[in-house]
Symmetry: C2
Subunit: 226 residues, 2 copies
DNA sequence: AATTTATATTTTGCATGCAATATTAGGAGA
DNA sequence: TCTCCTAATATTGCATGCAAAATATAAATT
């Protein structure tokens, strides 16, 4: 029997992957607060998986830097302090610059247009003052640039660091001024990418990230006080 | 009773860490060949641990990119092909450049002297024609530069990528000419670091890594044929 | 009341067991 | 001999059990 026409392919992802993703989301969204303990019994009940895949997820998230394992004393959500934040953004800046350079060289016109489309969608959210929607597309644009650089290792590395930074995004509370500036910067980045101006995109991305760092750092103490 | 004077602190590392490190070594040293399957039963016997910590190690090494998990079909040692090699080195190049820059700014004189000491030890191995010893100190120097950059996230990221590349080091079979050039490059890197010449060290590290890539790529097909 | 000591409870680390899936071996038919 | 099918075997994914460690609770001492 030929079942190749079957429309829906049922894929069962391994439970440890599912658990890893769910936990990562919980941490990134701040629903598992930095410093809090990850109780195995509780989480197994909450996620509906047994301890084995859950503990595997802990190990993965630990290598990703999102949680810390204390031998015999469980796992805690790792702190995202100012030091860590600025260190991570510095690294991402270097990767971003490389990605921009490679994207200028390697991205197809269609891919650049895809980024342009995302850019306009982002502008729409900005116009409406919808910060969450803006962040989503902002995020997507940066990831696409890195993706279209055509270096899988770069993409993975960037994604991992970016994942940890998402927590900061959820904290950030942009001033209208900073927000407008960021949008202008994105305009320029897109222009540089379109004209495949390597030098310019490097500089723009570096600036953009430095600004991002500044505003993230500004938002951090507020959150930590809360 | 004050036991703070006790000389030997007995630390029992978790088995999954031990297993992870052991497996990583086996892969890096090429004793577990790329593409080969990681049989759980076999490895538990070999490492003397049960399946649980072993499987946790698999997950960690998978996120590090050293192994690949095939659902329901176990884990295999991930391939280190030319694409992956050059992609990784490109990323490491960007990180290296950043590290050099930061090290110029942040490293203490004592730290630079520590690097200088390693440099001379490396020269000794070069003079004797001891490739393994040379690699060891070469490695150590680059890691120290990244470490003394004073950015922990950068250090971790670099270390992870570097770990995966160690496999290539074991394959590499430097020509005397390339070897001599590499040593000269190291001389210059050290000089730039000592004079804290940011621009120069960026350029030097970029060049150095490009050369490294070329020689690694040259060595790769030979190994794959064998 | 505060500090210490002893005991009970919880939690973790790891090993093992069981069902589901994949692999291998064997044999029937072409 | 080769291909296909079937049964046996091995391997994986996950849940659970048990001992060791840590934490919480209670009692005892100062």
């Amino acid at each position: 029997m030929d079942i190749s026409q079957e429309p829906v392919l049922i894929i069962r992802r391994p439970l440890h992957e599912e658990a890893t993703d769910r936990l990562r989301d919980l941490i990134v969204q701040g629903r598992l607060v930095a410093g809090s303990r990850l109780n195995e019994r509780l989480l197994t009940a909450q996620l509906g998986v047994s301890r084995t895949p859950l503990r595997e997820a802990f190990k993965v998230l630990a290598t990703e830097g999102l949680v810390e394992l204390l031998p015999n004393r469980g796992a805690i959500v790792s702190q995202l302090d100012a030091t860590r934040l600025s260190e991570t953004l510095a690294v991402m800046g270097a990767l971003d610059a490389l990605a921009g350079e490679l994207a200028c060289a390697n991205a197809t016109d269609a891919q650049i247009n895809e980024i342009r489309a995302l850019h306009y969608e982002m502008l729409a959210y900005h116009a409406r003052g919808d910060l969450a929607g803006y962040f989503k597309f902002n995020q997507a644009i940066h990831l696409k640039i890195v993706k279209y650089a055509g270096n899988a290792v770069l993409y993975n590395t960037y994604r991992q660091l970016n994942g940890a930074m998402q927590r900061a995004r959820y904290m950030a509370n942009l001033s209208q001024e900073r927000w407008d500036t960021a949008v202008r910067e994105h305009d320029e980045i897109l222009a540089a990418l379109s004209s495949r101006d390597v030098k310019r995109i490097r500089a723009l991305l570096a600036d953009h990230l430095a600004h991002k760092l500044a505003s993230a750092l500004a938002a951090l103490p507020a959150r930590q006080a809360a």
